[in-house]
Symmetry: C3
Subunit: 313 residues, 3 copies
Amino acid sequence: MHGSWKGRDVISILDFSRDDLDALYYLADKYLEKIQNATPLRTLEGFVISLAFFEPSTRTRMSFETAAKRLGAGVIGFTAAAGTSLEKGESYADTIRMLDGYSDLIVLRHKYEGAARFAAEIAKHPVVNGGDGKQHHPTQAFIDLYTIRRLKERLEGLNIGVLGDLRYGRAANSFILGTALYRTNTLYLISPPQLRMRDETRIILEDLGVRFYETESLEDVVSDLDVLYVTRIQKERFPDLSEYEKVKGSYRVTRRLLETRAKPDLIVMHPLPRVDEISYDVDDTRYQAYFKQAYYGVPVRMAVLSLVLGKEG
Amino acid sequence: MHGSWKGRDVISILDFSRDDLDALYYLADKYLEKIQNATPLRTLEGFVISLAFFEPSTRTRMSFETAAKRLGAGVIGFTAAAGTSLEKGESYADTIRMLDGYSDLIVLRHKYEGAARFAAEIAKHPVVNGGDGKQHHPTQAFIDLYTIRRLKERLEGLNIGVLGDLRYGRAANSFILGTALYRTNTLYLISPPQLRMRDETRIILEDLGVRFYETESLEDVVSDLDVLYVTRIQKERFPDLSEYEKVKGSYRVTRRLLETRAKPDLIVMHPLPRVDEISYDVDDTRYQAYFKQAYYGVPVRMAVLSLVLGKEG
Amino acid sequence: MHGSWKGRDVISILDFSRDDLDALYYLADKYLEKIQNATPLRTLEGFVISLAFFEPSTRTRMSFETAAKRLGAGVIGFTAAAGTSLEKGESYADTIRMLDGYSDLIVLRHKYEGAARFAAEIAKHPVVNGGDGKQHHPTQAFIDLYTIRRLKERLEGLNIGVLGDLRYGRAANSFILGTALYRTNTLYLISPPQLRMRDETRIILEDLGVRFYETESLEDVVSDLDVLYVTRIQKERFPDLSEYEKVKGSYRVTRRLLETRAKPDLIVMHPLPRVDEISYDVDDTRYQAYFKQAYYGVPVRMAVLSLVLGKEG
């Protein structure tokens, strides 16, 4: 059943089917139980995994590193400091070939779209995209859908709001594409006009026949939602600072908003780090799902690594 | 017997009793033997430990990392570069929650006092303070007392000198508080007036009924001592540079001073790194205990990690 | 048979005999097979290895780290950022003593020649030189000779060209000294006049009775060669930039040059990273041996670590 994962590159959520995700989540459930029982695993003992972060990252890097180590794998790699280049004259292709010579699997983050696909073409070992450019972050989308599946007990027939930067945010983009695998969902895409979903994403949704609404107002739609996926809006996207301040204020998810408007079983998600788009008073409410989402990252990434390396259990 | 350690946060030496330390040192002795016999251990196999160094550190970080790895645990984490902030807009609380979601125990260093206690309140998993602010560095104090116990074969009835910055130095502060657990010791607190022990430490010593003398002169008291604990004096503490130079000179521990004045079985300790407060000609004398102290750091920290995680042996 | 490696420091290729290398390569062959069969090894379980890179390094560091982890060892350490000093007031000797107290073996890189030998004198545990100063990089030389042995099936009677910076390049220097262990080889030392082999290397070759020719022209000698070892020429070595540009052009190894002039079974090696001294169109030809050379680094370094620690198999 898991045969289709072995040896595969994980570049975009679009390359995966619902059956692939079922196999993934079946294994993630098992790993979650092992973590909770503190059962030591040697599934990937003797394997070495490269974490090649050409862009800085703390959260995604540590999540993958935890996943690898919980399976007994060794980890090597590097993380670019903010604002530095790691390549120092050496070509990107040569760096990938080096990592491919040392390790059994490469996890990669890069600021340029297509960097992961290019690495996968060069490398003999599987490549897992840990985020490249503005559109793809497939393991984040796996985690997001897994979180919904665990907390709502289904992935179908949900009203799903996606709030924030839908244009440049790769987590939001990958999440939108991931929900589209489940066609009975309805998407509410909430953003200021300049941060609307990109045309290439829109075309995919239309091709798949996914129902979606685009709106600028959170308040107007929040009462319809079963899931609200919040992402950060970066100040740098706004030429006019007063415009940014206005948007920021109206897109802030507060306890008051949720208690007065939302369904009682709405879950609020966020790929983190959050700045102030969700106020801290939401943390202790039943709506909060973002810390669980981070927690589920480890078992889901464990499942990705072991399936791709063909070593389950 | 070790029951009182399991699941516990390790924030301040003040939270621990002599019985706690006995249990700790019993296990540290066992681990020391295992290291010396190169016996591989799988005590913490399957566990993941976070090393979250919000302040730069090489020595403490590597000591904890060695301890974790000698027990078979996986390690994740980060170390702030000198002068940088790791938090980049994300709240400290959110970072702690992330680490708490990934790992089974968090070791933490932070420049602000109280950071470790605050983290322990948020995290479900145990937190071990690897140094916060100016007063607490409990595992360093455990190591220091263990070193005395191994080299002097007792922790009672000793004349213990503490030299240097007793005001801002967290290693000296924690050491002073640690020795106070053993009431038959006499403390000689040697420092320039502006770097004297803080009032909150003085009050604790007085409450406990510990005998202590404060003095500015090393020469006057050195011949009384069984133990001399040296710490670094930082130039930045002195508005007047010539004042610093004078202090620095008179507080330098040299072979000549020891050979002419000290008891033959005095041990000289230092939490390291040293700059020039102990001259290099002391390194090859019988007085030198600071490299042993660093060496004992690993078995003591192994004991801390395994006791707190409830997995001895 | 491997008795002569146990506990030994690995500082210079000159300290090793052909018998030492035979023992090393016998074990490297076994480890290569284990890697290819994905057989997990616990040879160094319970051991901790320090990687102390006082000079920045990605490639050598990750190669050693992979080797250690494939054997089940724990790894601690640090890597200096470009342009920074790690020593911050603490003496180099104290840093080595700290690492010696924590770990079972120290791998060291340093910009000063002699730094590894000095560390070996201080440390009780074995020290492996990962490159110091301009002359020694012994494990790189082990890997280079191993690559020739695997691809040419012999280490004798070969015409070996060494191209580039023979004066300041430690990889080239160590390789030249390594090939000199096999006296029936002929060396072609190809460099601009200002980057010729240093006198101390020349004297060693003469003492050993090794046949060598020095030349400025690659074109003149390329057709004689069985092996061509290429190294980078750094712009900084040339006071006159136009001089550099001329040299750079004439020393570039291209597919066209190889196809029109070289023996069909010539192998082209490079310690990497390459900049543009070998053109990319060589990558897919039968001449290319540099990616295999990087790949062989892991089993050779596994053999070094396990032999020195006295734990084979």
